[in-house]
């Protein structure tokens, strides 16, 4: 980081395009970003820092993305986009630092040494996002609605809901479903052929356990949910309890939308 540069906080719209625009502006203006603020995340806007708004500009964002791909390959550009989805607080500054060093190094050799701390941290952030996508291939729970829809509520650490599309599209070929991210208030609606982004206005579901009102679910939904809860408790071997391992593999924060972990159904 060069000394004596002006410290500026950049405000962007929360999208990758917005972020790359802010990055472009910071490079152009030779400032040192003190932080990147996603306007939609409801973060406190600091009073004492100088603020600059970065309205998303596809052309500028594309130049940053292209620069990354040129120096370090398309795969690495994808890795950075994955890291951007991380819910980790400091991730945007980590990516900024990574980009600074990458653009300082025309042959891109910098990012090939993954043991460099600046590279490692970004790789780890991307890795955690990928890992959560894999976890949610298992932790999504669909409920059948009365009108033949399948609905699932999730609350992941990272912004991954659209990364779940290929897996579930392949699994349930022509069936319509919605997977909704409760925290980020956006979801994916797959109509049996194509997927769409959705934001639900009337939230009929319960945010505390993901259930739908009884009138909205299909008749047999409750039955299969109960079978599953009983199954879950029947296959555990009581003589070898290991709660620690269970919680390490399935942290408590993921439990609220898993029917088998809902208390009150314990046997």
């Amino acid at each position: 980081m060069k000394p004596n540069r002006e410290k500026v906080a950049y405000v962007f719209d929360g999208s990758l395009e917005g972020f790359y625009t802010a990055v472009f502006m910071a490079f152009r203006d030779k400032t040192e970003p003190s932080r990147f603020l996603a306007a939609n995340a409801g973060q406190q806007i600091p009073l004492l820092e100088q603020l600059r708004h970065a309205p998303a500009d596809p052309a500028l964002a594309a130049r940053v993305d292209l620069g990354v791909a040129k120096r370090s390959g398309a795969k690495n550009a994808c890795m950075l986009k994955l890291a951007f989805r991380s819910g980790q607080e400091d991730v945007l500054l980590l990516i900024w630092r990574y980009l600074c060093r990458l653009f300082d190094c025309p042959d891109g050799s910098f990012c090939r040494n993954m043991l460099d701390p600046d590279v490692w941290d970004v790789l780890q952030a991307a890795r955690r996002v990928k890992r959560e996508v894999h976890r949610f291939h298992g932790f999504v729970r669909f409920r059948k609605t009365a009108d033949g829809f399948w609905f699932a509520l999730i609350d992941p650490d990272n912004d991954i809901v659209d990364l779940l599309i290929p897996h579930f599209r392949g699994r349930y070929a022509a069936r319509p479903w919605v997977i909704y991210d409760a925290r980020r208030n956006r979801g994916i609606w797959y109509d049996g052929k194509k997927s769409h982004d959705v934001v639900l206005e009337n939230k009929a579901f319960s945010l505390s356990d993901g259930t739908l009102p009884p009138a909205a679910v299909a008749d047999d939904e409750e039955h299969y949910c109960r079978l599953w809860q009983h199954y879950y408790h029947s296959v555990s071997i009581a003589q070898r309890p290991n709660q620690r391992q269970m919680k390490a593999a399935m942290p408590r924060r993921y439990w609220k939308y898993l029917p088998e972990k809902q208390s009150g159904h314990r046997q």
């Binding site: 069936r175 029947s234 296959v235 555990s236």
Partner: protein
Amino acid sequence: MKEKVLQKLRVLADAAKYDVSCSSSGSSGGGGSTRSAGICHSFTEDGRCISLLKILFTNHCIYDCTYCVNRRSNDRPRAAFTAKELAGLTGEFYRRNYIEGLFLSSGVMVSPDHTMERLNEVVRILRQQYRFGGYIHMKTIPGADPLLVQEAGLLADRLSVNIEIPTEQQLIRLAPEKNFSSVFRPMDQINREAGISRQERKKHPKAPRFAPAGQSTQLIVGATPETDFTILKLASGLYRQQQLKRVYYSGFMPVNSHDARLPALQKPPLVRENRLYQADWLMRFYHFRFDEILDEKNSQLDLQLDPKLAHALRNPQLFPVDLDKAPYELILRVPGIGVRSARIIMANRRHGHIGLSQLKRMGVALNRARYFICCRELPAAAASLYPEQIKQRLLKKGEGQCRQLALF
């Protein structure tokens, strides 16, 4: 009707829970969306992954194997599904994303052939009527007709035959109706037919697959006096000759009221089971041969030390390893360095010296590794200790070791 299914589910899931082999990995795109890495959908209170609906078709059994909870002389509630019920249940669980597929096993009802026919029927309904593309793991019933085994192989992703007891003499003592040939005959058949199918598919990519996720087996540990050396030797042979994907080890659980032919245990031997899994990992991912882990003289795994550490302490001439120069196989032998770290070291050491901070970053267990590597920042003295001294230091520090192991 609904209550009946619930009752059956409880009885038959409870009866299936002692079979530990239940991962869903290794089928590269059979019909639907089975992935090469297994997906866990939930984890039970005993820390194990739920990937498949693990269930018995029936727990009625004509056999009387002493180690089995479903033996005919046990007074337990018995139940049996119909093929349709079980296929329907699997389909509905799969649609809600509760499970990755079905793990279907069964007690032996009427005869092995009769039972195997029922199992095949369940899977046929799933695949053909429901167009079920999920993962299916089936047990083949020892003694069933080879034609039935063949049909099963064409429907399922993975087949398995449980050996249960590691030597034939002991198997016959505990399960008088079984012998090794009833286990190894189907195993060899599955291996043979899977090989033929692979060859065929090279010529015609549309040729039918036979058990594309291979086969596995389970060994019960601690019910009989076999040593760990015998068990690992058997497992190693199974991996090489029968080309098994996995051997599972299940610590003997005293599930029956006491039988004089079985040892009286209070608790299943969990630490020993864990050590066997560690040794199994060494054979499958760390290029160890079974006779490097144990030999006739040291025929039991050390319960205090993990097998890799024990190997390092018995072979001080291999160490210290220079991480900047040593070949991959040797780096893999350093206690505390795993496959992932070893790969990172190999890929990155040309960019610079591998130091302590880098090792820490990749998650190497330095408390163990430090005695077996040379590295500028480490005092040379650490790597020149005698094996006995290292052992004492590690045991003193690592009461944690034992606790950590009980985890598995």
